[in-house]
Amino acid sequence: MPLLEIKNLKLDFVAGDRSLRAVDDVSFTIDAGETVCLVGESGCGKSVTALSIAQLVPMPPARYPGGEILLNGRDVLKMSKQELRGIRGGVVSYIFQDPSASLNPVFRVGNQIKESLKLHRREKATDEEVIRLLKLVGIPAPESRIKDYPHQMSGGMQQRVMIAMALASEPKLLVADEPTTALDVTIQAQILELLLDLKKRLGMSILLITHNLGIVGDIADRVAVMYAGQVVEMSPALELLKRPLHPYTKALMNSVPKLSGNDERLKMIPGSVPTLGSFPSGCRFYPRCPSAHPECATTAPPLVEVMPKRWVRCLYPKEL
């Protein structure tokens, strides 16, 4: 049994009598010890999908008209408040894009980590355990750092504190929502290296959300690419990077300049990302797709397994 299994998840945002579907029929699994990347541009539904795993999207405005989120075989969407409290920050921990906004500015970081320990561990929360966690995430001189306030730390250090806090509960699944987007490249490299190392040592699963395909190659076992609320391609990471199948994945990879690449003109994707509520009918990528057929405008393609372990949402998978 996989650790997490999302089945046909649908998420609507209700505003007055209007209802906008942000996530439409998303399914994927994460096995124990596996790293899965969720890739997509802004507004594709990747963050709300990830937040749904611990039911962290406020309801209302959110509503789940269908689908299941099975964590260890139990549906998160049907859990009581008390059960959810055990899941949140316990079985599933989160780290977010902007660490300075996620930490409380008026408490010392040591106390913030201790709070997480108090909530999720039976034994007494001690300074020693906090120091051990800070050491685990590579913060130098943790004995003096536990007395720091968040503003006394750099962005990279703050993100390490967030990771330490997330690890306090010994989670089975760490959800990292764009954890390095706000950081500089050299610090980004440090944090990715840390996540890889922690995964090896602690054996937890990671769901990493990113818009950067480069990060995928560094860290992921499998990738799901999202576009306009749907998964359009799902595949083992290296195979996807070597040979993307869906026209959107291909276009996305071709539109990014590569280091030491040639000076050819970049291949553009025409138009812009569709916004919530104005997703095209039929295939949602068809207005921007270079290989669209007339049929694509009307028929919505299903997600099908075109090769072993490779799933693609396209009407013409043979042409891919």
């Binding site: 490249v185 950067n212 300049p257």
Partner: protein, 332 residues
Amino acid sequence: MGAVFVSEGIVNLLEVKNLKVHFPVKHGLFSRVKAHVKAVDDVSFAIQPGETLGLVGESGCGKTTLGRAIVKLVEPTAGSILFEGEDIAQLSGSELRKRRRGFQMIFQDPYGSLNPRMTVGQIIGEAIDIHKLADSTTARQKRIVDLLKAVGLDAIHAQRYPHEFSGGQRQRIGIARALAVEPKLIVCDEPVSALDVSVQAQIINLLQDLQQKMGIAYLFIAHDLAVVEHISRRVMVMYLGKVVELAEAKAIIGAPKHPYTQALISAVPVVDPDSKRKRILLPGDVPSPINPPSGCPFHPRCPIAELPRCQAEIPGLREVTPGHWAACHFAK
């Protein structure tokens, strides 16, 4: 030092010589000046007409301040900025306004840099009015439409307000506004980093097309090395307010000479799964520019630093191989 960057026989569009921008750090009841942030510290370089010079560095390295100082949005503390041979560092008021026609700026945030209460036509037209570039209303209108078309928008868009556009379209409006005065140099401060990946390529291609058509020079500031390499002829790397390396784009990415540049390039995540690059992990963070390390500012994080030399001696920017400048004692 600035003179060494001048290529023989080519007149530079912009020459920056020993530019310093220091911000005072004030403290206490009477706002005593306690220290200075040396955001830009003794920087010299030149840009030729129609050339793109890339500028990379991590946050806080002074790249944005340098860009703003060149278009005089911040006052330089010392040094000179020669634009077409004339020093604009000390100019102000109407003199500066006249010269500003030659250099414009495009900003990172396409949401924050357009006035939400003005229509696109008014935003672009304002620049035309200030510099009196149209002698009749019809000429002005025609110029606005031409500019919109040049950046891939339609005449009808002139009546709309910024909130009606997507991020990529807004960045196009920002570009049209900069183009309105026919500048020779545009400082592009992270023009694509706020945009979706699929839209970035559109803006990069547009900037390149416009350069080819109009011969504009760019100072292209970004933190994404791949984007900078793609668009630039030469690239300059900054660390803690100083230029640490300056060379042709291909040379700097293919064979970086400064250990900081080497680490920076190795840290970029790559899409290609077959690449077997060894990542150089730098320890620690970028130090505070208020109190930078003595000697070489990079020495506390440098994998090849040799004490006591690197701690004591500030390495100057020197030409290691022809056209390839690096500020490291050991670069060869």
